[in-house]
Symmetry: C2
């Protein structure tokens, strides 16, 4: 690859976004960040890894919880988000990478070589995938998938002025039910076509 670039991946729950992102990063030989970022956020914020993990992907919603958890004027979730923003900008300035979720598309909106992807799939495919990965995690898988989507939407809509899943936020959106391997092949080919490469 002849350019430094960042791929961000937003995704519906159960669409395989994380595995796809990891595989694309491996294929392109660039770094991958999902939960890998938590340690960096802890370091940046001075909070414990446990605290960051616990609040990861949650918006500031409970005044009481934060009031008890934090003696500072800024709610803990917001503090984590600020640290996360700094960490993500630092990473992006140094190396090509794939970053999953965490409003990275919005945080990096001024970044030069940025490509924002949203991965989706029909509900049936996502229920099926969730079931096969996590047995007995829910009685009603449709409700579970919807609840997880709502959590992601709430987080994104709280920390950005945009709407989660709205196509105007992304350079492309892709349905992973065409197959994880197919999706990885297509995305790798696309990114190589866009940012250049040896292959």
């Amino acid at each position: 690859m002849d350019k430094n670039f960042v791929i961000t991946i937003g995704r519906e729950y159960g669409s395989g976004g994380r595995v796809i992102g990891q595989a694309v990063a491996d294929r392109l030989g660039i770094k991958f960040y999902d939960d890998e970022i938590i340690e960096l956020i802890a370091k940046e914020s001075g909070l414990s890894i446990e605290a960051v993990s616990k609040l990861d992907g949650t918006k500031t919603s409970s005044f009481l919880y934060n009031a008890f958890m934090s003696t500072q004027s800024v709610p803990l979730n917001d503090e984590i988000f600020f640290a996360q923003s700094k960490v993500i900008k630092d990473i992006a300035s140094k190396e090509s990478c794939v970053i999953v979720s965490r409003c990275a598309d919005y945080i990096l909106r001024e970044h030069k070589n940025l490509f924002n992807i949203f991965i989706y799939a029909p509900m049936e495919a996502r229920m099926e995938r969730t079931k096969s990965l996590y047995h007995d995690i829910a009685n009603n898988y449709e409700n579970y998938v919807k609840k997880m989507d709502k959590k992601r939407a709430d987080y994104y809509n709280y920390f950005t002025p945009n709407r989660w899943g709205d196509r105007s936020n992304y350079h492309m959106m892709i349905d992973s039910s065409i197959g994880i391997e197919n999706t990885v092949n297509m995305l790798s080919a696309m990114v190589t076509a866009l940012f250049g490469g040896d292959n």
Copy 2:
């Protein structure tokens, strides 16, 4: 290419969907159908090319118009749509191709190697593109673009049970404001990755 496949392209007005589709077809060495299909529809329906052109992309909306235009029990737009469906299925059964608009994604929903793409772009980019291509076509380009989008949506929503532009209808959606050439490069690379090819 080692498989017979069909790429359908739906697109927002002013996003460059037609030129992109044409260039992707050229790049892949497969046939391209947009207005090229009108003559085939005329032949299939027995109507004149002029009549088909006039009603092309319009839904059945005016009872009176159709009552005067047609002595048959089926409205003329519906008749054209039936002929169009047959023509599109015929084409798809014979050769790999790119088909723009015309509810081809829905008409071909049972087709084996089908890849449905939707091309979009921010309103500013689409107004800019429309202005540069068609000088003085409108006083208010935003209204004009919105009106053309509405016509496309009305047509799609009338002849299919789906909603135009809803991601669940498409395998992928892409923002062409990253550049027409970039979009063509990316789509060509993706399709080759999905359906195979020599390059």
